[in-house]
Symmetry: C2
Subunit: 212 residues, 2 copies
DNA sequence: CAAGACACCAACCGACCGGTCAGTCCATGC
DNA sequence: GCATGGACTGACCGGTCGGTTGGTGTCTTG
């Protein structure tokens, strides 16, 4: 992939290098010199294409979020039962954040710097889109009586996204925990988590989750 | 020993200022000058007490984690049914991370910088202790047949801690989401989340969670 | 009191920071 | 042929970075 990187035009090379470095080390820890070197361009050229460091950061966040949102839009959209859709959404979401590690880290970092800060809107955008899709699926299920009426769809959405994000965030840490045996297997993790959630949100009387 | 008192005074002032600034802005964005000014000491004095910036950061993390771990040790320890203990643990954990915002942010930041980095062990320490306590409670409940045998306690522990952490991390963001009405009320949030989890991990046949 | 240990600080250092500038290169259009 | 203008660069700017130096005042100990 370095060959590809060299072939592309300067702006996209700069954006790619900046995204990688910002995600890995954070905004303040990355110098324009480092980005220039990684992108194979001069520092002055970066300032030619982007007004300043902040604008470069915003551009990185913007393109990354646009890409991410585009993929999220398709999550859980296929046909299938409510449970299948929800299960598939969770699995796809977990896969997505694992496949797009850089973007996920970028947004998590941005969320952490929560002051009157730079790219807040983009974090809200991606987070909100995830949230919206999920709540939509859940509301629909609730209308069809496939999940309890007395639960808050937003609550369930947060649980699903939250456990996925925590899996992403801490997977390297609890890889060494003796109690944890799903650290290397997001599929196992996602299946087990949704098993619990689905059972937890079933309507009170139903017992239709018996499998074998 | 008045000398020790004086020393501890300046050192603790430096540690407090550093903890606040590191938590708010991250390691690289905080200069020793800023810490010195916030602590009411000279920069040279900081270097007198701490070998370098990294050691100061480690010291901050160490004291913060020690304090945090001490409190966690008491979570969910009181008498009560399995469900009560679990519910109380979740509520106490959420309260804890909200009360100790600085430390939580500090550790989350450190988790994000996952390379061959500085304070990894402390993040593992706090995270692991939370995890250990929860898994312990869950294992006990499993032994007594109060939750399904076919679930992984570590999975449930991650779900509880994960949703709490995500609540902490994103509460400012989804405060503006129309779908969310628990943003300002961690108690409501914790109660609703545990309602779902508890129902999801009940043994297959039981129906003892009907509302009174 | 002398000597030393210790807390503390102003001034300073080289390195590097984000950002600027004058100028080169080169494709385009007249 | 030649003017225009965007892409691009090396050299440079003021300022800040983490860290050091040389020293002052204060307390303890003999």
């Amino acid at each position: 992939m370095p060959a590809e990187l060299i072939e592309r035009d300067a702006v996209s090379r700069i954006l790619a290098a900046a995204r990688e470095l910002f995600a890995e080390h954070g905004f303040d820890a990355v110098s324009m010199n480092a980005i220039a070197e990684a992108a194979g361009a001069s520092k002055a050229n970066i300032f030619h294409h982007f007004k300043n460091k902040d604008e470069l950061y915003l551009a990185v966040l913007k393109t990354a979020c646009a890409n991410s949102c585009e993929q999220i839009e398709r999550f859980g959209q296929d046909e299938g039962s409510f449970e299948q859709r929800l299960e598939r959404y969770a699995a796809e979401h977990l896969n997505h954040i694992l496949d797009n590690e850089q973007v996920t880290r970028l947004i998590q970092r941005d969320l952490l710097d929560n002051g009157p800060r730079r790219g807040r809107q983009f974090a809200e955008q991606v987070f909100g889109q995830n949230f919206g899709r999920l709540v939509e699926i859940l509301r629909e299920g609730q209308l069809r009586g496939e999940l309890r009426q007395d639960i808050d769809p937003a609550q369930v959405a947060l649980m699903i996204i939250g456990t996925n994000l925590t899996f992403f965030q801490a997977r390297e840490v609890f890889r060494h925990f003796p109690d944890v045996n799903f650290a290397g297997s997001p599929e196992t993790y996602s299946r087990m988590a949704m098993d619990i959630v689905l059972r937890g949100i079933q309507p009170h009387g139903t017992r239709n989750a018996e499998k074998e």
